[in-house]
Point group: C3
Chain length 347, copies 3
Amino acid sequence: MFIKNGWYVAAWGHEIGRELTQRWIIGEPLVLYRTQAGEVVALEDRCPHRRASLSKGRLVGDAVQCGYHGITFDCTGACVHVPGQEKIPSSMAARRFPVVERWQWVWIWMGDPAAADESLLPDFHYNEAPGWVATGGCIPVEANYQLLTDNLLDLTHEAYVHGKTIGNSAIVDVPIEHHVEGNEVHVQRVMRNTPPPPLFKRVRHFEGNIDRWQIIRFNMPAHISIDARGLPAGTDDVSRGLRWFSINSITPIDERSSLYFWTITRCFDLEDEALTKLIGDQIYKTFMEDVEVLEAQQIMIETDQRQQPDVSIRADSGTISARRIVQKLVEESNSTAVRQVASRVAG
Amino acid sequence: MFIKNGWYVAAWGHEIGRELTQRWIIGEPLVLYRTQAGEVVALEDRCPHRRASLSKGRLVGDAVQCGYHGITFDCTGACVHVPGQEKIPSSMAARRFPVVERWQWVWIWMGDPAAADESLLPDFHYNEAPGWVATGGCIPVEANYQLLTDNLLDLTHEAYVHGKTIGNSAIVDVPIEHHVEGNEVHVQRVMRNTPPPPLFKRVRHFEGNIDRWQIIRFNMPAHISIDARGLPAGTDDVSRGLRWFSINSITPIDERSSLYFWTITRCFDLEDEALTKLIGDQIYKTFMEDVEVLEAQQIMIETDQRQQPDVSIRADSGTISARRIVQKLVEESNSTAVRQVASRVAG
Amino acid sequence: MFIKNGWYVAAWGHEIGRELTQRWIIGEPLVLYRTQAGEVVALEDRCPHRRASLSKGRLVGDAVQCGYHGITFDCTGACVHVPGQEKIPSSMAARRFPVVERWQWVWIWMGDPAAADESLLPDFHYNEAPGWVATGGCIPVEANYQLLTDNLLDLTHEAYVHGKTIGNSAIVDVPIEHHVEGNEVHVQRVMRNTPPPPLFKRVRHFEGNIDRWQIIRFNMPAHISIDARGLPAGTDDVSRGLRWFSINSITPIDERSSLYFWTITRCFDLEDEALTKLIGDQIYKTFMEDVEVLEAQQIMIETDQRQQPDVSIRADSGTISARRIVQKLVEESNSTAVRQVASRVAG
């Protein structure tokens, strides 16, 4: 169950260069590369001739030459050469996917190219903003992408999964507030006068309690930013506090595996590279704790012969709203597809 | 095709302690642990909240705390804590499975708890009886559990598979006797004045022929004990003979893999630990010869596009009776389930 | 989709001896061995008793004894012994497959034995002809067998896949001629005054251009011989030219994996063993380049949710003809099977 008309992160910008890179998104194979002018191109990784994998071929200027029979496609997917014949068959074209490169990431639109709308990109500008420094990565996870968005929309789990880094029991006692705006979900938790979790202490050397904010925003299909703040309790002293964004985008490879793109981008001690490394290492470890939980959960769900319904609790309100939005968009897209087929048949 | 209302061996008693242990039985994941008082508990290894794997969580006293969101279940499966809220949803409960610990093994009832009946346990008391000493293990096998019960109910194969340890050609010439009592199958073979197989000779130093008995009893779903005796031919001299029970229980993991729990328990040379080790090693080797045959057989059955029917021979009478009993019990249980659904719908 | 009434290469002759060898062909497991007189025998690798794998058993003279319960089959598949009983059940027989050993290879007929017709063997006598010396092998490939026959029937790919050995761009500019004779496909390409590809140069030390012939013949189900010639351009001087046959037979293991049997058999420098080794090594490398392309293509085809139709070009005419022949023979065979069932029901 995937939204097609939506943006997915296909890669970090630095991953895509002048060689052909294969990536699978919502079950589709893609070949990605950068033109000589630096634009990122994404085509379906199947030659329309005999479905050979184009990413096994080579770049000829800005065109992709299939490594099997040499049929060549430009960066719009149009076929520009069929070896041994002048005439190019009219249906010989590789499917092209709209791409935008922004905020360090390469975004791809998996649905109708005519509907590709950059205003639907989530605002992840902190990944690359003056006065902010980001560290991050990409983790393959053997779990459905929605298990990851659930995870990020209910941070109660930090108390149980991440006690060594960003979690402690304080989080459990404070209920979340949540509201929905169109296709966005907002979840917020404010913890007053609470002990700082271990990583906060290492990073900002708090001596006493802090006031802690988690302001989470979900955008479809699977983008989540978390505005995380910890200030000395009862102060507004940002200069002695922690503020970072945890920026997350989950790209489904298929129904049971995902790529988890993430950054932590902070607005303090910008020059401190050791700190950047510390945060990167600790957050990676933290997310790998999630991966262990989520991969086990995936197995439990897919082996559940009775397909038992979930039993929800108060902390799930954000995750339930986000799943409803995705469900609604998938259904709308399916019924649009049915209407299009119907009108084509009627016409 | 599994019997649900029956006892399966979930583990050796010594395998279950104060840490959470996962095990799969007839396709269901279980979490097993021992309470502070020493009782073994088995719950479905799925948190009812979001189906996280409870065995990834932790014990808090005698309760299991889910490692994801901290929801906690006591050893009856009742939920005793939902972090962040007072009220516990009425359907928040982990499924509990009846457990009995007996004769060194932990037994689990996979069906209706109200129907759990200890009188249906097979009599395996020789695993832990005064005057008897047992050695054994647990072997994972990539084969359907009924291929293992077939194997144990027709020991003719010893001549072809186990020529180095417990088999020789004598076995082939003597037909089996068999009869059925309720849901029990008895198979017996008595070989008079026959050469002892290699392991018998190593263990009891026979100088001439022996009289040899194999008295096999099958109990549903997949329990088999073999009363094996070898006495100097023409004598009743148990003191110079071999007598042991081969006690076997096959636990289906799923339709194509199984756990094979086994012991050899003998009533001679009880203090001889080297002998215990010799028997354990030799029988393990013997059973691994079976594993090789059975795993190949499993592949041949599941790849058989024509699903050719078996061609039976005289030696199969015991295995056929046992399969009929299992078939009948599975069908009864299915039709009971259908009746229950029908009466719920009618009511 | 497999032709049953056809010959497949089961093995190189030297692979089959006095031990039992398992091989899978069109989804069927076979046990192969050689009788004391040197005849190759092929039986279904399932004991009719309980479908144990006969290849795990042993040879007793020219008979196969099942390694599980000792039931024994002669080299016609007839059961000659059931341990423990005199009477042999009438349906106790192993399925036998017709076998022919010819031109270094063991050929097996996978369909109705009564229809086995040696005149349907492709003429591969150059594998073992006076004045010719062959080198070759067998490569397992994770791809449908027809992707391999496609590959061999359109050698345009040599320019893109095999630039280091047998390919260069000359091939692209010359169109193929093709015609169909019954169930045979002939494809021919003649390249005049063209640079020799790298391996041709290494083997025959050409100093200038060559005239180059590729004369390809396809026989069902999946046999392809290529008569390859390269002579100094404008001459008929075979003594200074290259001529070899590339002889290929693809045996489907199942729908997505195959065994690729191949030889190169040449009629020059027969005694030069270093040359034989050079050709063997270089052609193996060349075919492994194909394997990489074909295994990627297989994945792209089997993951294609839309099952997009191929877009064909001029060079595909031979592959399309060959696929039509296979399609027709499979359909004929299916409708024959339906008629046989119908007449049995009617009768």
